[in-house]
Subunit: 316 residues, 2 copies
């Protein structure tokens, strides 16, 4: 008998990755194609179909499709005005996949997909109320309430990265100022390092770097070697994040908050200050109730597993 | 045939009000008893039963009971450590009602009950995603997601009044500083007036009042008569509220935000600045999507209708 699988797809600005994934979250087949080569999204879908034809014919029974995409709208199955994709306007991508493969297809944004992946295959197994925070170039979030992703009336809920945490703070890509992601993200910590370096004459190995050459990893390594500027930058990043988490706890009262992404991999450097400021600022009735935990998903698999989790959940 | 009703109960520190309410939200019978006279919560329940016996025997068929109470926990049906009630510890009040009346009984906190009342009988009819904000002595909130109250993992979600909006801001009753309710509530606006008066020598009819004699109504009337300090106080109250709403919109993406309570009755004085700062600070994808509307519930009925709505929903 053919193995039952879903197709998980991670649409990125540069590459699109897709994989056949079973119910246990094992990736059985995986491939990449360059997103930008497909001017029409329908062509990308056709190409994926071609590349999977042999596999699907022989070994697997495809039950459904899940897509994680930037600016993805779950309710409509569309990608809407994604600044990092060459497809402009509103793209009914779930519909294209459904037509091409003749199975149900679902779509959501990256951070919501990651939350579903964590719930089915990661550290949020069995937790009905949690928040997934992805600390990458920006800060994404997927909020799970009572076992379901919180989508809001329009499908766009869960933008924790765009909560304003500093009046007249740093300029954000969204056009406003002081959003959380301008502080608590890889971009944020780099800017914090640059600010700290300009404000003091303290010695730091990070002085050797141009802003654009800095990375989360470089700052992490400096902090591990005892660089005070790098350590302070992690502290500030965690302080903003921890305070914002204390506030969001008062809204959705989660049992756990899962940190994922580049910065989350820096371990204690980011977890310690975040936890400290979260606990210090949280309302008494929530004290000691909320676990701050790392994601169990591998960074190169999370998006695919999240997309697959969406499909598995929907086809039930 | 006997009319089908539920029993709605509003537990307050001073009085407990209870009423028989039909499915259309009409109050068919209503009475008050002083809460503090009943040292044991069970006695209060027995007394309510006695007072209703004739009514229930003759005219009505009781289908269920809904209780709105401070520090109410929906999951457990308990009141937990309510500072304004004389019952200490954890009181399984829903259980007491269930045993006494032999019908299902449900309990939630005041603000969540108000949200349910608004959804069944008020301006949030047919709206699946909205936030109810009660602007009284404090600031309470009930958040509805996908047609259901957001309770969180422990039953205590939705404490918008305790989001910290000002670092090292005003002292809050919760022990922390800068909570939204220290600015955007009746207590908040009174403190704002006192601050404004102490910071300037501008003429104001409010100078005649002691802090404890001020009220939302007095400030409202002064503002209507053109008192600049009173008007400025409403502006500041709305500014804090509007900015906090802009942030919470990024979390739950509601279709509407309903304002209820003493301050909400001041109409444009509070709605205009709140709306202005909400729209000015909200992330672009939510712009123009969220209505800020007044509650349709009468202030003296809202708690009862909310409690009744809880019961109707559950037995639904």
């Amino acid at each position: 008998m053919a193995t039952q699988v879903v197709l998980g797809i991670d649409i990125g600005g540069t590459n699109t990755t897709f994989a056949l994934i079973n119910k246990e979250g094992s990736i059985l087949f995986q491939q990449n194609i360059p997103t930008h080569q497909y001017v029409d999204a329908k062509q990308l879908v056709s190409r994926i179909k071609e590349l999977l034809d042999d596999e699907l014919h022989d070994k697997y029974e495809l039950l459904g499709i899940g897509v994680g995409a930037p600016n993805g709208n779950y309710y409509k199955g569309t990608i809407e005005f994604a600044p990092n994709l060459q497809w402009s306007g509103i793209i009914p991508l779930a519909q294209y996949f459904k037509e091409q493969f003749s199975v149900p297809a679902y779509l959501t944004n990256d951070a919501n997909a990651a939350a579903l992946g964590e719930m089915l295959f990661g550290n949020a197994k069995g937790i009905d109320d949690f928040i997934m925070v992805t600390l990458g170039t920006g800060l994404g979030s997927g909020i799970v309430v009572n076992g379901k992703v919180l989508y809001g009336h329009d499908g766009f809920a869960g933008e924790l990265g765009h909560v304003i945490v500093e009046e007249n703070g740093r300029q954000c890509g969204c056009g406003r100022k002081g959003c959380l992601e301008t502080y608590s993200s890889v971009t944020g910590i780099k800017n914090t390092v640059v600010e700290l370096l300009s404000q003091s004459s303290e010695e730091s190995e990070l002085r050797g770097f141009k802003n654009e050459d800095l990375s989360g990893k470089i700052i992490e390594q400096a902090a591990i070697r005892g660089d005070a500027i790098a350590q302070k930058a992690f502290g500030i990043t965690g302080e903003y994040l921890g305070k914002a988490l204390a506030n969001i706890i008062a809204i959705t009262s989660p049992k756990a908050i899962v940190l994922f992404g580049g910065l989350a991999q820096s371990g204690d450097l980011i977890f310690k200050p975040t936890e400290y400021f979260m606990n210090r600022n949280v309302l008494k009735i929530y004290e000691g109730k909320v676990q701050l935990i790392p994601s169990a998903l591998k960074s190169n698999e999370a998006a695919l597993l999240g997309a697959a989790a969406l499909a598995w959940r929907e086809i039930g």
